[in-house]
């Protein structure tokens, strides 16, 4: 009986391998997930398309959660995520063996529009940010701004890695975060545009997207009272509190084209792409 069962599972897994080989050779390699991780991955895909003649589709539906759920559901070959796969997700997609491939590090910045920056708000404390998120302060005057201006908070939509890092830092876990109703924004591009074009605006955004021209990254006041800016040095030493890992996700060890992509991103050329888009490559991280 036992041998029989083993035989069965062996033949099943052989069949499965064959099947996945057929799918892999016929269909393009599908990658989906975080817009943050997308930047270096899309460029790597571009290079691999030209040099290795790989057929790759990179998409950013639903951000990190989209990447996790679609990988868990077997719709894509590689996920992109700017947050670790939670135990809840592992439980939800128990048939998928999520493997996290660490390709770099990023920070979440709180960014404000130009008028807020110019009215003198350059730093915020954790307590101030909590008040802001819970709607207890609604005017920049109460947060050190020189003129009265209503606060327009654009919340990153749930499921975005950026949002999860933010509430993780503020409340310890997404589940402990209070329920709030703010206008929601999705990808990084949208967030930057909306904050840049709205008076009194603030939102969470990947630090590398804060260009210092239309949107400005605030420094966070550490426990010793010193402001900490989201600079590369502060992220590398974890002095800046809201940093996060960037992952490629695969179901088990990646193989075939998926392995080519993962290996490329971990190679010096791939790591240069990570750095080029404003993230920290692995070698810059202080363990």
């Amino acid at each position: 009986m036992r041998i029989d069962a083993n035989m069965n599972s062996a033949s099943l897994s052989v069949a499965f391998c064959l099947l996945s080989a057929v799918i892999a050779s016929a269909a393009p390699l599908k990658i989906n997930g975080s817009t943050t991780v997308n930047l270096p991955v899309a460029e790597a895909a571009e290079i691999l398309r030209a040099e290795n003649k790989l057929d790759i589709q990179v998409d950013t539906q639903g951000g990190s959660s989209g990447g996790i759920s679609m990988l868990g559901d077997g719709q894509i070959h590689l996920g992109m995520s700017s947050k670790p796969v939670s135990d809840d997700d592992r439980q939800k997609y128990s048939q998928c063996h999520f493997k996290e491939i660490h390709i770099g590090e990023d920070a979440v910045a709180l960014i404000v529009s130009k008028d807020v920056w110019e009215s003198g708000v350059h730093t915020l404390t954790k307590a101030q940010i909590k008040d802001l998120y819970e709607g207890k302060v609604t005017n920049w005057k109460d947060l050190g701004g020189s003129k009265s201006q209503r606060i327009a908070f654009f919340n990153k939509e749930p499921g975005r890695g950026t949002w999860e890092v933010f509430v993780h830092w503020l409340y310890g876990s997404p589940k402990l975060a209070p329920q709030v109703n703010f206008p929601e924004v999705g990808g990084n591009e949208e967030t930057r545009n909306k904050v840049g074009s709205t008076r009194g605006a603030i939102s969470q955004l990947s630090a590398s997207w804060a260009d210092g021209k239309t949107v400005f990254a605030l420094a966070l006041v550490a426990e010793d009272g010193q402001p900490v800016e989201p600079t590369a040095a502060n992220i590398a030493t974890h002095k800046y509190p809201m940093s996060r890992p960037l992952f490629l996700l695969s179901n088990g060890e990646p193989n075939g084209d998926a392995k080519t992509v993962a290996d490329f991103l971990l190679s010096p050329r791939g790591q240069d792409l990570v750095e080029k888009h404003g993230y920290l490559p692995l070698k810059a991280l202080v363990k």
Binding site: G62, M70, D73, P158, G159, P183, E184, S197
Partner: protein, 288 residues
């Protein structure tokens, strides 16, 4: 033979609609079981706490569509009247064609135009009412109005054109002026066609997704304290369609209750658009 086939095909069409509604309703059963009527009347939509009250979404959808109809209705009716009653035959096509071409533009293009032009315009023009940003229910309504215009113009014009010319000539022979002819003969005769045009446009507005999604602001649970007050129109909101288009659909996948709540929104949308479109089509057919 032809008769048999037409029966066959219409029943296939009818059954597929029923099947679709059935599949959606079945998929949404868990949320009806948990929330009951509160699913439609509840004020709170917090999926992490498994609270699913869709009232603010229904409110958003209806407000956005009504704003669109209020703007596109009179404008479209006026245009149709001008095209059908005043314009010489040769110029008619020159005016009608560009308007109907508007209907062929993909809605995502409208949405991008909305982001580019309309958001900032609304933000600046209504500045003294202090909107928090340019993403408001009103912005979405105005954008939808532009999208509805071809539907309203085209259907209203058809309604006017279906009135026999003999009636106009009779009215003129009785000494009525052109304006009087329009008021006393054309408008009453075409009334059923006009209202059906409005209903069909409303059905389209309720179902529109991408353009609305891009400019509505996507703020949950935004219900006014005073239902008739227009001041919440200048706040961000959420519609049934913008919710369905949001990242929550991805998150809901795998959580049976949350997923059924999302499917339930599909049922509500199907009922709203289906009901109104049906009403509009029935009126139109009775007229013809």
């Amino acid at each position: 033979m032809t008769r048999a086939f037409s029966w066959l095909f219409s029943s296939v069409a009818f059954l597929s609609v029923l099947l679709l509604a059935g599949v959606f309703f079945r998929a949404s059963l868990p949320v009806w079981q948990q929330e009951g009527a509160a699913y439609v009347t509840g004020h709170q939509w917090f999926y992490r706490q498994h609270q699913f009250g869709a009232l603010s979404l229904i409110y958003g959808s209806i407000v956005v569509s009504l704003i669109a109809l209020l703007l596109a209705g009179p404008l479209g009716l006026g245009t149709a009247l001008f095209v059908a009653e005043y314009l010489p035959r040769r110029l008619r096509l020159a005016v009608k064609l560009p308007i109907e071409l508007l209907a062929g533009i993909p809605s995502v293009v409208y949405g991008l135009l909305g982001i580019l032009l309309l958001r900032d315009w609304v933000y600046d023009v209504f500045e003294r009412f202090e909107p928090l940003s340019g993403d408001t229910l009103l912005t979405a309504g105005i954008l939808l109005a532009i999208m509805l215009l071809p539907t309203v113009v085209s259907l209203c014009e058809d309604a006017f054109r279906s009135i026999p010319s003999a009636q106009r000539r009779a009215a003129r022979a009785l000494g009525l002026t052109r304006a009087e002819t329009i008021w006393c003969v054309c408008l009453p005769q075409a009334w059923q066609g006009i209202t059906s045009a409005f209903l069909l446009a409303l059905g389209r507005a309720l179902g529109e997704t991408v353009a609305v999604f891009l400019v509505v602001g996507r703020q949950d649970n935004n219900l006014p304290t005073n239902w008739l007050s227009p001041s919440p129109w200048l706040q961000a909101g959420q519609t049934l369609t913008s919710k369905l288009g949001s990242s929550e659909t991805n998150i809901a996948y795998g959580d049976p209750l949350h997923w059924s709540a999302i499917m339930g929104l599909g049922v509500l949308l199907l009922l709203l658009t289906g009901g109104i479109t049906l009403l509009g089509t029935l009126r139109r057919n009775r007229n013809a």
